[in-house]
């Protein structure tokens, strides 16, 4: 089965490891992964900040890039939500039935990684091995935007050696919110502090999620506070008390064959 990898802009630049891991996992499961050339951004940053005209232009470009593709997969719930929800809204706002049709078609075949694995492929055990204590933060876009449900948790439970610890107040927003993080920084940080306190309460050594956007915000806070684990998970002097931040795709890609 062929799958086109949707490369979210900030993952491309900041978290290439997540995308490499996504490819590894998909190929391990027998997919043939294409990466359409010249990907830039789906337009979420502009759309969410009110710059809808620019977002529209980026949507048109995105549609062209993925026009010839079948299934599209991205390791980012917020970007997938953009394509599935907001693209339809923008197309409807212009009143172009052909565009709406094209958007509908793309939305129907675009998936976030965990919902693709569990919902489309029916797979929960991807052959991963990750012997660490892990806590999972369910991001707002994944839960309320594209409704992945417990797909990520099912995948994590099937990882060999992984001890899953429930995060208290898991469904509360972490405070990132895109440009909210810089436009309302104090409120964003107050929310982040509470989320990080809950992470510490779990005693887990690893924090994971399906969105690197939220993780970027949380790891930034952990780093500032001095307890972010860096380098290989669990390694280095003084690793006790440190927490590593690892995207779900990278956990799934780890172990034999990874």
């Amino acid at each position: 089965m062929r799958v086109a990898l949707f490369v979210p802009c900030f993952n491309d630049a900041c978290f290439p490891g997540t995308l490499k891991a996504t490819v590894r996992v998909l190929e391990r499961l027998g997919m043939e992964v294409d990466v359409p050339r010249g990907q830039t951004c789906c337009g979420q940053i502009h759309f969410n900040t009110g710059y809808r005209r620019e977002a529209y232009r980026l949507m048109e470009r995105f549609l062209k890039v993925f026009a010839g593709c079948g299934t599209v997969v991205a390791p980012s719930a917020s970007c997938v939500a953009m394509v599935r929800e907001q693209y339809a809204e923008m197309a409807a706002g212009v009143g172009d039935p052909r565009l709406e049709e094209e958007v509908r078609g793309l939305a129907a075949r675009t998936f976030e990684l965990s919902e693709f694995l569990v919902g489309e492929l029916g797979v929960e055990d991807v052959g991963a091995h990750f012997p660490h204590r892990v806590t999972f933060h369910p991001t707002c876009h994944s839960i309320r935007g594209i409704h992945v449900g417990d797909a990520p948790l099912r995948l994590l439970r099937a990882v060999r050696g992984l001890e899953l610890v429930e995060l208290p107040h898991a469904l509360e927003c972490c405070g990132f919110g895109g440009t909210f993080a810089v436009k309302n920084p104090h409120t964003s940080l107050a929310m982040m502090e509470d989320k990080l306190r809950h992470v510490r309460e779990t005693g887990a050594g690893v924090l994971t999620a399906v969105d690197n956007s939220c993780l970027l915000h949380l790891m930034g806070g952990m780093r500032r506070e001095g307890w972010l684990g860096e380098g290989e998970v669990g390694s280095g002097p003084g690793s006790a008390g440190k927490v590593w931040v690892v995207h779900l795709a990278e956990i799934l890609a780890s172990g034999e064959g990874g």
Binding site: N11, G50, R53, E54, C140, P185, H186, A190, M191, G220
Partner: protein
């Protein structure tokens, strides 16, 4: 076109966030109410179908608002009431004050009505020499504290029992009062009893008004509503036009959704439904004042108008992570929280509340609990674009950053260049792989977070370099 959003929320939030007492009060209150709401809605097997019915009823009411309002006027008049129309706050205050004055009232008792707060009725009455007596416990507390409401259902949510005790000790002349809630409630009861028994004129709001029968409804807990609605000779009710319900039967939906969504109870203590004037029972004169005050402006926006479906339950406030930490005052609005962020900018038009649609992370928790299924995040996004017709209404820096980002994203060549440039810049300012201070627009990030320097190769650079082999 106005450029740049007013400081508004971002400027007001820090002080509220730093107020530990406020944070504790709000945190405790909203956590309690969230659990109760979840329990009483969770036990209803038909909760979702009730929500869908409520949404449909409200959408119908709004789509045919002029017809239902005319029918309401007809029904109320036939039942012995009088209907008045107020285009704005000034008109509303004039009508109410004139009616109160005509009744010869030196003071009027009031049932809590945020609509009356919205138009500033108390100030208008005082200017005419009429004393407004708030009878709702929370409004009483607010009045004593000389503050404004911070939550439209529980206006004094930001006060804890000790703070309330101190206010009562001072303003009710009860120096020995404890902070036991039962004792505080008793103090309020004694204080207001005589006012109720002597009141000639009452002013109320309304939760609903049924077009079919002319029945008006008030949902309350303390009994001050019942006192004000039945004892005085003259009753004046100020109601936003969007509160009209088409049919008497529609009440069965809202009387289930509202108490459970608002206070997390199966039913609130008292709900009063009255139809015009009933000889020998209650007021001899009933006046319904229908208020526009910007609602017709909201109605004109096909996406934004769903904000008018709101039944003021406050479930969205109680679940909002932003509201929970900042409280209502930082919104500087009669209606704060998620619903306020979509209603206020539309009611007032561009200007005062431009920052409110941005005071949200779009987490969507509000939409999950809204009993009338208002798509709050969708409307927030709509309003963020609407203010500038989609071209963006941020600061000068933001607009330029977005413009540059737009060019970069439209061209793969500029994109690659952009990534390399960002990589170089961050590397220059990074220490141990992390940037600790960003200038300008990015300063908010590094206020409390570090930012990692970019890896040596982006994914697409690496993929091309390897010929596509992971």
């Amino acid at each position: 076109m106005r450029r740049g959003t007013r400081p508004g929320f971002p400027a007001a939030a820090p002080a509220a966030l730093a107020d530990q007492q406020l944070r504790r009060n709000l945190g405790k209150a909203t956590t309690t109410i969230r659990a109760k709401r979840a329990a009483v809605s969770g036990e209803m097997p038909d909760w979702e179908t009730l929500r869908e019915a409520a949404r449909a009823i409200k959408a119908d009411a709004l789509s045919n608002l002029h017809q239902y309002l005319e029918r309401l006027e007809e029904s109320v008049t036939r039942a012995g009431g009088a209907v008045h129309w107020a285009g704005d706050a000034v008109e509303a205050n004039r009508i109410v004050a004139e009616l109160a004055a005509a009744a010869g009232a030196g003071e009027v008792v009031k049932v809590k009505s945020i609509t009356t707060d919205e138009v500033g009725l108390n100030r208008a009455l005082e200017a005419r020499g009429i004393v407004p007596v708030e009878t709702d416990l929370a409004e009483l507390i607010i009045q004593m504290a000389g503050e404004s409401s911070s939550h439209f259902l529980v206006p004094a949510i930001h006060k804890n029992r000790t703070q309330i005790r101190d206010l009562f000790r001072e303003h009710l002349g009860r120096p020995g009062l404890s902070d036991d809630p039962a004792e505080l409630a008793e103090a309020a009861r004694l204080h207001l009893r005589q006012k109720f028994l002597r009141a000639q004129v009452a002013v109320s709001g309304a939760n609903f008004a049924v077009a079919e029968t002319g029945t008006v409804g008030v949902v309350e807990s303390e009994g001050n509503g019942r006192m004000c609605l039945t004892l005085p000779r003259v009753l004046i009710t100020l109601m936003g036009i969007e509160k009209v319900l088409p049919r008497f039967q529609d009440l069965e939906v809202f009387l289930q959704l509202l108490p459970r969504s608002a206070t997390g109870e199966r039913m609130n203590p008292y709900t009063s439904l009255w139809t015009g004037v009933t000889p020998g029972d209650g007021p001899r004169e009933f006046h319904l004042v229908l208020l526009d005050n910007g609602r017709t402006r909201v109605l004109a926006d096909p996406v934004g108008r769903q904000a008018l479906q709101c039944i003021r339950c406050s479930a969205c406030l109680n679940i909002c992570p932003v509201y929970e930490r900042v409280g209502g005052h930082a919104y500087h609005a009669a209606y704060p929280g998620p619903i306020g962020s979509i209603l206020m900018p539309q009611l007032l038009g561009p200007g005062v509340h431009d920052s409110l649609p941005f005071a949200s992370t779009l987490c969507g928790a509000c939409a999950d609990v809204c009993p009338v299924k208002i798509e709050i995040p969708r409307v927030l996004l709509h309003l963020r674009a609407r203010a500038s017709d989609g071209t963006g209404a941020g600061s000068f820096q933001e607009r330029w950053l977005m413009r540059i980002l737009g060019w970069v994203f439209r061209s793969p060549f500029l994109y690659r260049l952009g990534v390399r440039t960002a990589r170089g810049l961050l590397a220059r300012f990074a220490r141990d792989g992390w940037v600790h201070t960003l200038p300008g627009y990015g300063a908010g990030w590094t206020l409390g977070r570090d930012l990692p320097a970019l890896p040596r190769e982006s994914f697409q650079e690496w993929w091309e370099g390897r010929g596509g082999i992971p």
